[in-house]
Symmetry: C2
Subunit: 160 residues, 2 copies
DNA sequence: AGTGAAACGACCGTAGA
DNA sequence: TCTACGGTCGTTTCACT
């Protein structure tokens, strides 16, 4: 249910321009054929396939389906800032188990954790906050930032 | 550069169990063959292909490459809460143009906007905050929440 | 790491229920 | 909206560089 934690290597992977170009192609269309990509980046089909395989196996890139919550009726989204005490790592694990939360991060600042929630309606959000977040051990207080408009969303980190 | 804003239809799309099953297959491997998916969900290759085409053309789903910023040397991430005045929609557009920001959202609450930043190092983050965010017209103050650990990240909204 | 070629399998268009 | 099928194109494997 939770996406596998990424194996953050101590040394960053260096991508050459060709691999970056391949990734850019796949960021537009993850099903584009290796032959087409090869034509675009100046490489044979087999070479493209090998690079894609290495990139996915090393965890640098993954080709997946991403869905739009709005179109599926999940029209309420919010960011929740959480002030907490005790071991916040344990709390983070508990939060990660909540399916309505698609994003959980431990932070430094006036919030110790932040989590993004995707809900169908306000009741679901209220219920989640009161019954399943605020009563978790260690939670001191929460602050909710309801989304009014999602302006930018970019899955394509690290290649800009 | 910025992902296209999603066309949020007024009425939510209803997916039957078969389409949900197809999406689940593609969330694991976006390049899985239609024939294989068909075997898994009990449909012919052509039927799967048509459904995938409809799902992608309607914007409910997209199959794309997603990369891991950590592995590519972008080791500093943070959420920035922004208090602002004036037309926050204009400000949101300006923020969306900043490549280091991968996520920009207008919110209700003690922050008017929130943005996620992906950087290579602290200097880049400091420079971004001071030289390119705090001096934007309308920005009153910002609050930065540096990421300590990304606990959960789920691209697969709406199908949980 | 890369190319090229041949066998295999996937994909696409069309026809029909 | 599904299945069936044939032509075309993509993918896989392998020998070679």
């Amino acid at each position: 249910m939770t996406n596998a934690p990424r194996s953050a290597s101590s040394r960053p992977v260096h991508l050459d321009d060709v691999s970056k170009a391949i990734i850019e192609q796949l960021q537009v269309d993850g099903r584009r054929s290796y032959a087409d990509i090869g034509k675009a980046v100046g490489l044979s089909e087999a070479a493209v396939r090998q690079r894609v395989q290495r990139l996915t196996e090393s965890g640098v890139m993954q080709i997946v389906a991403v869905t739009d919550p709005m179109q599926l009726g999940f029209t309420r989204q919010a960011m929740i800032g959480i002030r907490a005490g005790g071991d916040t790592r344990e709390l983070a694990e508990r939060l990660a188990e909540i399916p309505e939360l698609d994003y959980v991060v431990l932070t430094a600042g006036s919030f110790d954790l932040m989590a993004e929630v995707v809900c169908e309606n306000d009741e679901e959000l209220i219920n989640l906050l009161n019954s399943r977040i605020r009563n978790l051990p260690g939670v001191h207080s929460t602050e909710t930032f309801v989304y009014l408009k999602l302006q930018k969303q970019f899955y394509n980190w690290g290649t800009r």
